[in-house]
Symmetry: D2
Subunit: 302 residues, 4 copies
């Protein structure tokens, strides 16, 4: 069995041109920057990547380019969720073929079904997927909170290898670690409480803030592993307001605005998402500046 | 301006063959039955129609066939929602061209945005749509409850002509009637409380139970309009348990099971939706039998 | 068995003096006015009565005075809820002795327990209470929504004779009527959707708006019973904004402000409830004026 | 200004005799045991103490006895919440006079008011209270989640000195630490995620599991402070299932059952709380046994 996946993962946005097409040049530019950073991996076509707005062809293309730019340097996880089970299974196949090291899978969520429906969906896609499957619990967006019984059962499938959990339910995060195999990867899903997730047994985080501040996140991770808790806690305090600003407060439009401010490719979101109002943009940039995180991001100069 | 749309609308399921393709023969059979019934209209590609599982091509095909079988007899409303605004706009165009008399539009819901995002989405699609647009409020599935301020503003658009509201919030339903133009159609979204919706000012209902028991629903509607409240209330009491069973309790799989039991075309749902367990099927059929609604459905014999 | 309780009930506020004591003179004045109105009954120590702020002694006193002023003219229902079962049972005894014709009972709600806890509480108090018990479902305040299974079981107790349901869940209201004995009284709990509740089988309403506009409410009720649905629906449209303003929008402080404006005794709420801000007071009074309900309240001149 | 309060606090249950009166002998026995343990303090008349069921006289008596048995050894915090502001203020005075080192204060919660109502309530009671006030955020029971804006403002009051937050919202916990003075104590409210709370900057925990396993909790706390994260994380894994069992899963009846099993005084809960079903009791005790926490509780032998 492959090694357990760990570390700091960036759930990256999809840069669009003004006409709504994917900005492939910008995508390559971003990938080269992330490759030069201490990131362990990226997540393509997650919520920041505007997954419900991306066709399979687009996800495959993004994944292929990511492989060309960063295979071997970054673990590449690609979002395979589609509402119909068979579509998700075919997506998992296509993304694996395109170079994805793993695929991320939201639960079915339009019909709020029984736990059995969730479990079957995960198992069916995992049966079909060449690449290992990671569950993606995102109740704020889906309205579905994957329960611990589903996680426990799903983790018995040899091709279901982890979960990204953004729910913030530390009790469930702790139970997830307790009731899944040692090789199962439990990732905290936001930088707002990365250190809390690690303290409950998570083996890493996939979090928006690592898109812009990967070294800060990695320093926190390594300080935790080394038992330098004061350093880790101090970093967590700095991460929180920035992480919160580019996720819950200002959403993907906020994240993309910040990306552009750092010279990376963001572009507009696809509609119905609206551009960040100017006043919010100013608040966001002042939160970032006040955090002082820039001083840690030495890789940018390289 | 066209006449106000009123009456009893059936949000019909999409019949599938065992291989997952659309059962066109079954679809035509069902359409002929509904056309012979007292229904005023049908809704294609709503929640019972498994809308998140249908491509635009499939929705267009279903709409075309419906036009062939029932144009002029039934008002044909087709679901135009897609997550990206431009896709929904193109869907509205294509469905109108295929013969839809109106299009139904869920709000954007993966990103839980501000009211402005919802309003813009509705307006943008209404700008593009040849057919009038009806809002579709379905918070149990989307996690988004369209607020009264959005409804009031949206109703000012000349091409936004009504709403199907399943939320069950009678206060909001009442306000909707109060704050929209006289020509705006407010439909109750379930047979569980059709009479309550009418009493709050709704001009009709689009409700699963009318798929199977259209005459019972129409009798209630006409009894209400004629002030025969005892008759209307007695019918409402009979409708409630059946309506509840084929929606909230047993979902689309339950609805399709009942359809098959009445000799109509249902078939399996697309996965991840699972077939109705046998025990649930027995409960469902006994609820239907106990209701005594069959006695009203005289059109079936025709 | 006693006759079924029906009609229009006013869940009346408790008038306080500036020093926080009960304004007994004002209470008597209000009672005489309600007695001259078409009201069928009043509810003392409900949510508008600031029940969590009233001692048993105060509730007994309010009930005694109500009996002195209005026994025989108004059905007197008094709130017997206390967090401890034995306290509620003793309250039911004392309020019955003080002249209450019925007692109203919230479910236990600090500890969100199993249905069994709710059922036992209702049954234990009903065992002890000389006066019949009416359940009081008020999830917006308690965070507990009494489920249909608890209602069905509780209704089997010979001394549990009805429910006031403010939840607005029309499906549950309909089931309540279906699964309780004919003698069980199901009251809608707000004037926002009084007609909807009646159409689902409710036998009356206990609603804040009837405190100020009892004749408007009674006219709606009688129009419904007589099948004059256009008149009933027109009244419902007028009631909605006023009802909503003195409950959900502006709360008990709003209700008391309006009472004072009509020359009745309201006074301040007990703290922590705060007085209505001036701007809200103006909005409230303009909503009332715009409704035109005053024209129906001819009893006031008497 | 007094030193900042920190460490491990036990929110202890109130032992009752079979007749429902307080078991003072049992209370003294428990206090002596806790005093011999590594606990830093206790919370009287919190949720485990059945606070909504306790009169002011009972809370004063419990506090007085606690002072007699443990003053100087344990920090004594007593629950001062009553629904009326003035009652809570008088409770804070009486509990302070009875020996409470601090008082704990739920927000008003029957009327779900604006933030201003919460803030005023806290400030009014803090004005009156000789002992410092600690906010008590318990949304699972109250239905009210004290927001960060209220916390920030309340923390400016010189006599509001901390918060016990059980919400589990790590983002808010992190912000609480960031936006309150250094002397303000932020306590995690459950042992389910004690280490997560510490990692976000909490200065301690008040948690049910420390009633039975104070040394295990204190070891975790000290391991965290010393940077021995592997030890701390291993302890957290052991604590989680036990903590969860005596709180969310089996409630106060479960906690009291476990207390009795360890030879401490628990007794029955006051009704409406029901005794723990036998099957649940077995599950609970097997969860405790499987945790292996007993090995750390060496103080029990003393």
């Amino acid at each position: 069995m492959a090694d357990k996946i760990r570390g700091v993962f960036a759930p990256v946005p999809t840069p669009f041109n003004d006409d709504g097409s994917i900005d492939e040049g910008g995508w390559r530019k971003n990938l080269r920057l992330w490759r030069a950073s201490p990131l362990d991996g990226i997540v393509i076509a997650g919520s920041n990547g505007e997954l419900p707005f991306l066709s399979l062809e687009e996800r495959v293309r993004l994944t292929k380019i990511a492989g060309e730019e960063a295979a071997g340097s970054l673990y590449i996880m690609s979002g395979a969720h589609f509402p119909v089970t068979d579509d998700a299974a075919r997506a998992a196949e296509a993304l694996s073929a395109a170079g994805a090291d793993g695929v991320l899978l939201l639960p079915p969520h339009y019909y709020k079904g029984k736990e059995e429906m969730l479990l079957r969906y995960f198992q069916d896609v995992a049966d079909a997927s060449p690449a290992p499957v990671f569950l993606y619990n995102m109740p704020a967006n889906t309205g579905v909170d994957i329960g611990i019984d589903v996680i426990r059962e799903a983790a018995k499938h040899p091709n279901i290898r982890g979960i990204k959990d953004t729910s913030g339910d530390m009790t469930k995060l702790g139970y997830t670690v307790l009731c899944t195999p040692e090789s199962f990867s439990t990732f905290g899903g936001t930088g707002n409480w990365f250190l809390a997730a690690l303290s409950m047994g998570a083996c890493g985080g996939t979090m928006a803030i690592s898109i812009l501040f990967p070294r800060s996140c990695k320093m926190l991770y390594e300080a935790f592993l080394a038992g330098r808790m004061e350093e880790a806690a101090a970093l967590q305090k700095r991460l929180l307001p920035v992480s919160d600003a580019i996720t819950r407060r200002f959403g993907v439009p906020g994240l993309k605005h910040a990306l552009e401010a750092y010279g990376m490719a963001g572009g507009r979101c696809r509609k119905p998402l609206l551009p960040l109002p100017k006043k919010d943009a100013e608040t966001l940039m002042s939160v970032i500046k006040a955090s002082g995180l820039d001083e840690y991001e030495t890789w940018r100069k390289a």
